[in-house]
Symmetry: C2
Subunit: 329 residues, 2 copies
Amino acid sequence: MPTLKQIAQAAGVSTTTVSNVINGNLRRVSGDTAERVRAIIRQTGYIRNEAARALAQRETRLVAVNLQTHGEDNALLNPYSAVFIGALTARLYHHGYHPLLRFSDDFQTVEEDIVGWNVAGAIFNGSFTRYLTQIRSLAAVPTVLTDCYYDLPGVNRVDVDDAGGGRVAGEYLSRMGHRRVAFVANSPDESAVEIHRLAGLRGVIDVPDRWVIPFADIAGGGRLDVLTSGSDRPTAFFCASDLIAIQLIRALDARGLRVPEDASVLGFDDLPMATVCTPQLTTVAQDIGMKAQLVVDMLVRHIRDKSLPPERATLGVRLVERDSVARIE
Amino acid sequence: MPTLKQIAQAAGVSTTTVSNVINGNLRRVSGDTAERVRAIIRQTGYIRNEAARALAQRETRLVAVNLQTHGEDNALLNPYSAVFIGALTARLYHHGYHPLLRFSDDFQTVEEDIVGWNVAGAIFNGSFTRYLTQIRSLAAVPTVLTDCYYDLPGVNRVDVDDAGGGRVAGEYLSRMGHRRVAFVANSPDESAVEIHRLAGLRGVIDVPDRWVIPFADIAGGGRLDVLTSGSDRPTAFFCASDLIAIQLIRALDARGLRVPEDASVLGFDDLPMATVCTPQLTTVAQDIGMKAQLVVDMLVRHIRDKSLPPERATLGVRLVERDSVARIE
DNA sequence: CTGTTAGCGCCTTCAG
DNA sequence: CTGAAGGCGCTAACAG
């Protein structure tokens, strides 16, 4: 593989000129020379050394993409994360960047990536609140936080309208005749996202605390038996994610309860899996592709113009009606 | 952020010594100096510049991970790919490497990654046969091919025992009383993986060509109607992936046919989704985490010792019995 | 429009 | 066991 210098020699020009051609600074090169240089680049199959470029420019075309792991080492086991990361990646390519993936619950590795690789920017998904403030480099590198209700001065944010989603869910369930609704979430008193979804729901329907259920209680213990027996029981379950909804449906099914005949289930996210399960999931949809685009485009804007003031965007949601919620009464 | 040189000055030693400490060449440094250097590194929070290291060493700690896209731009929409990429990533971390992700159907971008970033190694998943031979850099960079039945001299391979999986499927279906079995796959006459699965099945059960079905024919057209009416119809469908199986179950469901009562469905892969659908999928399982480990460990071995001869490994499969296949007759 | 030059931060011979 | 020095390949002033 030739170096830029060799290209310059072969073309009989200086390295500056070649560099200018490669980087599209065509104002500083005559059309003639540019074409000659390009021809040589093409015929030699020259590819620029990114490490050298990074060293000289003090910046790579890498964007640190950080995902909380919650202990699990394969963060892409979660289908929402997988789809989102895939969408981010595709959009990053669009702007000529690469994701530098990091699954971690620990800020040290994250900082090593950001600083060690001289990344152009950083994206965080989830509520890293525990250590976000410890990441000193955050101030220096354009950053976008998603699904993270934490206000860090100078940092950009993209959030889903979680409260709005909860409200939409409540209004829909209400319209379908449901008055008694339970909320199932991973950690309903820690996850900011889930807290907002619940708050939105409660703006419409009164949900008693005993019906705010950590999913683990259902997956593990017999909490579901209590919730499905006796007369004091919910007619519908609003789940903080499709993944939870689908597992809940299975758990109900295992107890001989059919959805939506015996209980209604409403999801959140609208993952591909929502349409391949039985019954197909009625869910509050967020457009993950659009979200990735919002995030990446915002980041790139701030990479290009470091003086831009912090931005904040909220992604709308909409209800997608399928088969898991029944009209009652 | 200090540079290595500044650390050296602060410690009153040369850059060589600091470099040796960082890279664990402790034979060439006295325990005393090493500790002094380490202390300064710790208290300044020094992080080594990867670009500089890469330039000096002509190699990054990046591994190019390439995924075919089949036109789609978000390759992680496919749950199998998502889980596999996640597992690869986790295992790469384990050895101190990062994945450099590329979703592409085109060898140019792939080569730009490999050469431009001086990656330490490359992993390909899927049958890139169309252009694999065009990637000149493959000879120079340790490479592992997965799920790619293509023999490239000097290149390592990890495959799943697809033929064995087909056989296991056939034997199981046979044991359950099925004689009339159809095979549903994405591109049964192009995908090497699918071809092997079918071949394995055919070693046990006779599958007429008319029952070898591209999934598109089912998803799109009314081919399924033909397959489910009349007396000349299969009693079981062996699907080349869980994803296909689940969609097939839905399509059957839409026609009022229940699985497994009216038709049995057998999947392949054993993705997480196999347990969250109804009925839960009986499937030929491959251990994706193990596969990722085989791939990465093999790659790292060859990165460390460039003189190693090419290797080849095959991942075993096993049948996981759940609820989508019925015993008949 | 084009060339010269001085680094970017680290690794790695080679001397001592 | 330690240090000095050159160079990895590219970019970006600064001259011309």
